[in-house]
Structures are given as C-alpha cells and as structure tokens.
Subunit: 352 residues, 4 copies
C-alpha cells in the first residue's frame, strides 16, 4: 500500500545520479519519493522547471511537480535520504542528516575511507552493515551513513567476490573504459571526447585499487580488515553514454581453467539476506559466451541495469585468467546500488 | 632528382591502408609512385574513379589520374612494391612478386610467422634484415618479403625496446583501445560502435602477444630467437578514427622508478643506420608529462604520425611500472612503417 | 487467449528491421510469431545462431529457439507475413505470398508506387485500405500487399495530416537528419560517419518528395489522387543510432500562428477506426514546448517509439511556419508501422 | 623580414577561437604574434601553463612561452588586436582598444548590428570597409572595430554572393548542421550530443537570417542598405568536431539550371583587392560533383580551411535550386576570417 511505504528524499536531485535516483524511485515497492533537495538557486522551483533532465525516459510526473527544498535536515523530514551530492559537499552535509537521525545512503565518496563507514554491495558484503552500530556509537548518531563503491569498482568487485569464494584471489589488474555519465553533468566536454579516448580520470585509479579490498575484507569487531589482494588499475574515459567496461587479468589462489571460472561466476548467488530484496538482480552475474560481448550499448540494461555481465573468459599468459566485466555505472554503480543498500539496511532493521 | 627515384607500386591501392601508401608516397624523396594495382573489377579504371577515398586530405593529383592494373608481376614492373593486400590474398600473391625479383614491403600478416621473414621496425631491429639473405637462399627468390608488425604491436614494441635496453623486460600486460581505421574499409559497421566499445578483435590478441617477442628477439644465424618476455593482451575497438592507445603494465629486469623509465624512453634513439632514413621520426619516442595525455585526436599526428607518444608513467602495484602508448595505426603502424622498412632495406643495399 | 492469436511470419528476420519485427511481435495481443524466414545460407539454423542481434534488449527467448525457413509460401504457412526484405528481393518475392492468399505487410519500398498498392499510416489514411479490393481484382490475388512509407516520410506525413486538416498545406521543405539504423546492417561504415555528416542518402529524397503526397491524397475509385502539395527534401545521415529528425518549413493554406499550429498538432487524433488498435500511439503527436527538443536520444521512445514528437514551432520568414519532427525510424517508421497496418487491415476484415 | 611584421595581440587567447588565432598567426607573413591576453586568473602564467590546448596540432613553441597579460590597452601595446572574447565582454572591452588607437578585428558578435561597424568577408564585400571612416568620425576613435560574421553565415554568404552576382537571389532557406567547436570550450556537454542531435542553438537563427543581408547589402554613404533577400534558418548541433554544413534551398532572380549555378559558383573570384591577400583561398569556392560530398571530416581543410565547398547542386521543387555548403567554422568562419579581414584593412591603409 502507498501509505505504508517509507518516505524518502534525494539530495542533489537535479544532477546526473540524482536523476537516476528519481527515475528508479518512481515506482519502488518500499520507498516513496517524498522530498527533492537541490542547491540554493533551485530552491522553490519545481523539479520540472529547474532540472535539465538527460535520461532517455520521461521525467516521472510526480517528481516533475515537486518543489525543490534546501539540503538541510529541517526541510527533509524523512527517515531515509539518498545522496547524490558531490563529495566535497557530502563531506559537510551528510553528517548533519545522520546526526538528525536520518539514514543516508550515499553515492558520494566522501566517507568511504572512514573506518566505521561501510562500503556496501549487498551481493558481496551485507555483513559489513555491522559497522553501523559502531559508527552510531563512535559518532553519537541515531541516523547512519552507508556508501556504495565507486562505479568502476562495483562490477569488478562483484565478479571478484565470486572468484574469491571459489578459488581465492591474489593479484588483479584492471583497465577500465568508462562511460561519460560517470563524470556527471555537464561533465566531459564533447570536444574532448569526439574521435578520442581520455586515458585519465582524476582520483579514479586510487579508488579502484583500494575500495574492492575493503569490500572483500572481513569485519573484525569495529573495523574491516582489508582483503589481501594487490590491485592495479588504469582508468580511461571513452565515448559511451552509460556502462563501464573493465578488462580484468587476475591471479587466483589456486589453479582453475576458464570453464571452471565461468562456472563459478554463473553459479554465484547473493547471500540469503540480499536475495529477497527488491533490487537484487537475477542473475547477479550473467556470463556470456559470445566472443564479442559484453558490450555497453547492447548489454548494460541486463537485469534492469543491476546485473553484472562477464564475458571473454580465457587464460592469461602472465597472471592466470582474463575476462571482461560490464556494469551499468549510474544504475548498479550509483543510484541503483544505493537503493539496494537501503533495502538491505531496512531489512536489517537499521532504517525504520 | 625525379628521374633517379625508385619507381614503386602499391598493391591493394584502393583500401584503407592502400590509400595511406598513396598519400605518403606522393612526395617521397627516394620512391616514386609508378603503379597502382587493385582487384579485378577495378582494373582499367582510374584511381579517382574507382577509389572511395576516405582520408581527410585531397587525393594526390598524380595518383588520381593513374589507371589500376592487375596485381601480377607482369603488370607491375618495378623493383619495389608496397602491399596493402588482405592476408589471405597476400599469402598467394606476394611470393609471386618476390620470385620475380621484386622487393615486397608488406603490411599484411601472412608471412610474419615464417622463420625466414623479418618483422621490421627500423628503430627496434634493423639487424633482422639479416634474414633476407636466408630467405632468398631458402626460397630461391631474387626479390624479398619484409613485413611490418601488426599496428597494435608497433608502438608498444618501440617503447619496450627502450625499456629492454635500459632495464630488461620480463612481463608485460597490454590493453588496447584501437581505432576504427585498423579494421579497414568498410570495416566496423557504425551501428556496432556508436555509444559502444567492442571488447574483441578477431586474432588480434595472439599477434600482440607474439610479434613483439620476435622483433625484440635475437638474430641467430638463420632465425630469430624470441625474446624471453611474457605478454598478455586484451584488445578493444573504440570510437576513434585513427590512433591506437595501449595501456601497458610491465615488470622490468631491474628496479627503476617512473622518472628513470621516462628518461630511458626520452633518450631512446633509433640505431645509427635507421636514424638517417627519411621516415625516421624525431624523436622516436615523445614522453608527455601532462596527466591526461597522450590522446588519439590530439597526439596521433606527432612527428607526422611516425612518433610513438608515451605518457602517464607511474608505479604499478602489481608488476612494476605502468604507462600509456599512442601510435598512429595507419601511418607508423601500417603504410608509414612499410615505407620506413623499404628505406632501411634500400640503404642496406637489398632494394636497388 | 494465446491460442486465438493469428500466427505470423517475418521475412528477412535477421536484418535490422527484421529484428525490430521480432522484438515488437514478442508479446503482441493479436499476432503470434510463428515463422522466421531468412536467406538461403541461414535456413536450418536457429535464430539465436544465425542472427547478429543488435538491439539493446535481449533477443526474445521464443524467437531465439526458432529455426529459419526459406522465404517461400510453402514454408511460411500463415495468413500474415511481415516483410523486412530488401526492395529488390521484395519485388519478386512478395507477390508470391500475396498470390498464395497471404497478407503481406511490408516495409520494403518495391510496391509503394504501384497504383493499386496503398502506403498506409493508420493515423493518416486508413481509408486507403480501400485499394486492397482493387489490388486483389487487378492481380487475381487472394492475399494482399500493403506498405508503410519510407521512415523519413512517416513522422512528417503524420504532422502534415494534422496541418492539412486544420489549415491546408501548400508547400513543404524538409531537411532530414537520419539515424544509422535506417541504413540497415552492416549499413554505414563507421569510418564514414565518425566526426562527420553524410549529406546524401541514395534515392531517399525522391521518396520523401512523393510518398507524403500519395498518403495525403484521396482515394478515387481505383487509385489515389495525389495531394496537391509541393515538397522539397534534403536528406542527411548523422551519427545517431535511432530516430530521424526532420526540420520542416511549410506554407499552409491559410494564415495560422505558431500557437494555433501547435494546438492543431496537439489536438490531432487518429481516425476512429485506428484509435482502438493495439499499436495506436497516445498521443499520436506530442508537442514539446522546450526550446531544444525533440532530440533523438531523449525523445525517440516517446509512446514506445510510436508517437511523433514535434517541437520548436515558430514563424518561417519565407514560407509560413517552421518546426522539428522526430520519429523513431525502425519502430514507427518501419516494423512498428507495418504491425500497426496489419492491425488496421485485420480490424477491417482483410486479414483473417 | 621578421622585423617588419606588424606586432599583434590576441584577446581571449586561451579559448577555442583564441587557440585558432594563435595557431594561424604562428607563421603569418604580415603579422607577428606579440601579446596574448586572457582573463584575470590567467594573467602572469605562460600560455603553456594556463591554456587547455585542444587543437590536433602542437601548440606553437613561441606562444607556449609567452606570458598572459590583462585585456587592457595599456598592456597590449600593438596596432592590431584579434578578439576572441565572448560577446558580453567584447561589448565593453573592444571599444577601449579602438579608442586607444588600436584596430580590433573581432570574431565576437557584439557590434555586428551597429550601423557603423562592418561585417566583412573580403571575398564578398571588401568595400564595406568604407564604414570605418564613418565609425571613426561617429565615435571619435583612432582605432577601429571590424567584425567577421557568425560562422554559419560565412560559407552560405560566400556562395550567395556568387549567385547574387550572376542571377540575383530572392529567398533562401538554410538548415545548418553545426560542429561542436562552434560552441567554444567546454561548450556542448558530451552527454548532450552522444547518439544525438540538438535541434537548437541559442540566438543563432536570427543571426543567420540577418547577417548575410547586411554583408550582401550596399554601402550607402554612412550605412549599409540591407540586401532585399528573405532568409529562413533552422540551426542544429551535430556530433562533428569542426566544419559547419548548411543545406540551402534558394529562389534566384532569374531562371538557371543546376549546371549554370555550378558554373557561376566555380567561376566566382574574390574582388581584385582581396585576391592578393595572404589568406585569400584559391579557389574561393570549390564545387564538388561527387554525390555525397562535401563532408565535414573529409573536406573541411580544403584550401587550408579557407575555401568554401559546395556540392549536390540540383533543382528544388519549391524554390529553385538546392545545394550543400561546407565551411570550416573556426578557420574560415572565425579566426581565419578575422585575420583575412585584418589583411584587407591593412592593404587598404586602415591598419598601419
């Protein structure tokens, strides 16, 4: 019933990820979009007036009529907010909400390195939500902050979880070809990417080299012990609207041929507690056996953009195994991931 | 003087690489374009009539007026032909020319794996031309076949030569983002690449994993001993017209920090005998220190498309060093490379 | 009920438009995909094996398992076939089906100029189906051939119908910017369209200058009297996957300001007999008042790709009014249009 | 001799058009780049440090070492400045230079509508420089402001000049497909143009409908009488880096078939006084007879980017004649045009 859904807000609602939140929350079974917050100059305008909507779907009608409010807890009186704020603003603003008793599920990177803030992927590490009580105690919050990983880390970490469970993982080299939407809006100038590749994304490689280690690590009381995996990343921007592709070469903990690795990936299931959540993709990982797939344009919407697609499993002459991972960066890797996290935390009784 | 230049032919003159040969030979100091050969249905037509010219430069006027002849030695009576034939046709046709006493400098891959056929990069392995006498003896040819490497191997091998000389090289992982022109014409359908990346190029990875080992190997009498380097490649097609970008992670033979590696690359010079040739780029390798370079659109024409551009030198957490290499695939990696090879062989007295 | 749906076939099922037919028929309320026909070398293979599927949606599972048959009436024993054949093949093949008592709803242009073959848009000229009895009598067919217009004519003709009804139309100048999918597959080589526009599409302008006149004409017994409208077209290919955009300048039959024209377009409704059909878009025409819309990427899926989107209504200093029309070329302008036509003919009792 | 060249400055030197000025002035026979001016936060930095160079050519070495100064006459002590300032800033700043005795050749649109400021194309209306003495008298300036037209007007106006001279011109409908570089940098966000066309460019259509009338008009004492031509324009942004394509339909003053029109365009010559200037293209107009040309990627650099390329001459069923015009928007349509204007004014003794 409508009246029993949890009212939620989106912070940074007019940006690229904010728009995805609005779209994905339009018809959510548990959450009801109740508040849209934006920057000062947009406050008081309707979403339709102030938002330069860039999704190839119509703006949801209900959202279109909503009026933008300030990103302050007093104007956003709901138990759960989704944050699409830029990291620098998130750093200051998100704690105000957590302190005010509001759960913040955020796509911003500002708190990912904090010892008491989990980076969550429900398919991978639902137990890391165990940091929330630590966080509340440490900071005196009745709310919480939970983050999802960087969009490039997302798909790769899901695939690595399956490999780690089956074979162990020791070393991983990743080269990304990342979509334009990952840079937000206005983001990458068209003159920089037409007939071009930009072999650099500021601060991205360090995130991709570290975040998977936290997510694949072990909750040890009040902190996460990082997984003992060495990761190297090259990050590139390519002329694709949505969908990050990552070439992965990995050394596993034991011998395994490509067919066995494919099997392990295909068989991978989300942990029991994640599997029943509305946003849990089925399958979590789709393994394609077509030579030239996955491809961003053709495969990014697999499982409504929540499934991780893996292909081209083959031996690596240096490490051990190589393959391609595709993940939709603004759905699984951003807004959809945050919503999935909120579902997890709600099912665990941490958002009520 | 015009009259003393060596008359040359281009086989497969109407294709993508053939057009580059025609353009680059338009004003060559040593070679004079004398014959254009094409497939049967084009024979008898002028180049202007039959060629769907796709270079962003006007078709050279002299070539425009030339009439296409058959790709048979009797119609191509010159001491040197450049071959832009598809490999399957090259396999049959190129030996006919070599047998007829004609030097064939080819971009086709058909003979690259033959023990007595060199894959030449004058900056890297001019001494491998020493296989030509072996080849002539083995096959009873008075002509010759000399190949240039696959376009993706080209830039990476030039960079590896510099590293090998200074530090040794043990293991190399390469991930390419390759230009559309590398697939020829009509090549990649536009519907396959718009808003997309294709993470697969047929037979490319095996070439990139093997050819550098031959070029960096040692001439031992009648064959090349492959360099003892392990290489792994992922090859991808991106929406770029010209210019292959390769992300490289390498383990060297000794410790070296990024600054030392940059220095070694910058200092690299072509061997004496290559340095004086008309097509020798200066510098052979340009190291850029801008964070976000090299980029295909902005940097591919460095050194008239013959210079290899390297950037983003940094430590690799798994192997040792990582960087980006850019090389113009239809100039340095194809037609320009073959012409440079012909200059080398001519200076060595093998083409007269 | 499933069992009562009309079994249908797709001819040319593996091509670009053929794939759209397969996708759109996957869940059609009246028609059930029963047969897929393809070219000789594909016969006997499953659709999944032989089709290079290029839609950004998964191949329907039922179709994937179907086996390709020959495009001959004896192998295609259904009352209705949808044809995505190339025109040259359609010319010979479609009459064989019509003669065999099968209704052919075709996207091919082969018969559009025949006096007794209608070009149908159910929103525009459902009454032109009155040519079918003439056609049957003339040709001794128990089946029929009905065509949909060229994809570029489609959206413009729908808009012109609304204008003609309200104000009359005298002269129309159209400049198209057409999507790549309109050229089929492999279609436009990527090297021809990257960083480029191709200001030419073979035979397109003559179609766009003539077909709307037939569709907007009057059924006069056994033929259509062409509408007395002068049309000029410039046709261009741009780097867009789907969605044809047409800039239109028009001289109407009476004075009307942009607001009145917008009103007439917004108010336009499909004729009663078309309105109840499953594929009838609602609205038929959507008028957007945003300055910079419609845009192909953002608006092509309006009304599941069946709605015609019009924007930028303003005065034209030479003719009278100018505006932009967007129509999805492989849905409304091709497969979806043919299916809509079949629905119309079925509701009129001509397909049973 | 170097020492006798006129020292010149570029205002707004780091922007998209500013970079073109710097590149084109690198080796100019009459002008020597002496000063680069930029916005406040760049002052004191070298051009290499502060400029995000986006041309696919290396930054000229001399410019790279120059230090940015403020855009104030006291810091820019040269007889001639080229302005690539945004219009809003040009409005205030350019008169300060003109007052200080400096000739300003500007690409900005700020003064184009002023009665005493000429919009110059040396091939079209060199005599309009006759407004300069009027301007000096009106405004008490010892310097001057001369503008070049909007980049989209440029090519079309050159073609119309040839038609006007030969046949007269009455009505012209133009639909542009404009390059991304025309929007400056950062300009069009990549997410707005990937797989898309934007059928709107702010304030562009009114310029294209008016500027050609001024340039094709007649100097009548102290003002220009606008040419009596009705023009309608639709302006679109497409995914092309450089080169504006315009589809033109025109009604001439007398009957002329496509061949006659082609002849008139081919025969068109710049007036005597423009012909001898260094930047005068030869030919001024190139008429191509290939069906599918001109194309931006292949033809924009014709005549070093200064030639106007026209193709697809054919009858127009509504007006009279139709064709395509291509002009390089940042060379002929911006920086190259301003430089050409300065050459004209110098040859006329107005810049010394």
């Amino acid at each position: 019933m409508m009246s029993r859904r949890i009212p939620v807000a989106v912070l940074g609602a007019t940006g690229s990820v904010g728009q995805r939140f609005v779209q994905l929350l339009d018809d959510h079974p548990w959450f009801e979009l109740a508040v849209l917050a934006g920057s000062e100059q947009r406050v008081g305008k309707t979403y339709a007036e102030t938002c330069h909507w860039t999704l190839p779907l119509p703006m949801p009608e209900k959202a279109a009529r909503m009026t933008i409010v300030e990103s302050e807890p007093e104007f956003v009186d709901v138990p759960l907010v989704f944050s699409a704020l830029p990291s620098s603003i998130a750093k200051e603003r998100e704690p105000l909400f957590a302190k005010a008793g509001i759960a913040v599920c955020t796509n911003a990177g500002a708190f990912r390195q904090e010892l008491d803030v989990p980076i969550l992927l429900p398919e991978v590490n639902p137990g890391h939500a165990g940091l929330i009580p630590v966080q509340r105690k440490n900071r005196g919050w009745s709310g919480l902050i939970a983050t999802n990983p960087n969009c490039t880390s997302t798909g790769a970490t899901i695939a690595l979880r399956a490999l780690l469970d089956s074979f162990g993982v020791q070393r991983v080299l990743m080269v990304s070809m990342q979509a334009l939407s990952g840079a937000g809006y206005p983001g990458v100038p068209s003159m920089d990417i037409i007939d071009n590749v930009i072999p650099f994304i500021s601060n991205e490689e360090s995130k991709v080299q570290w975040e998977p280690r936290k997510m694949l690590g072990t909750l040890a009381g009040d902190h996460i012990e990082l997984a003992d995996i060495a990761i190297s990343a090259h990050c590139n921007r390519v002329s694709v609207s949505d969908g990050h592709l990552v070439c992965v070469s990995a050394e596993l903990g034991q011998s395994a041929d490509p067919a066995e690795v494919a099997q392990a990936l295909s068989n991978f299931q989300a942990p029991e507690e994640a599997r029943k959540l509305p946003s849990c993709p089925s399958p979590v990982i789709k393994v394609t056996n077509r030579d030239d797939r996955p491809q961003p344009r053709l495969d990014r919407m697999t499982g409504n953009g929540m499934t991780t697609v893996v292909g081209r499993l083959r031996e690596d002459p240096i490490l051990q195994i190589k393959f391609i991972v595709l993940s939709h960066n603004t759905i699984r890797g951003a807004a959809g991931g945050s919503i999935f996290n909120a579902e997890l935390l709600h099912s665990q009784g941490m958002i009520t």
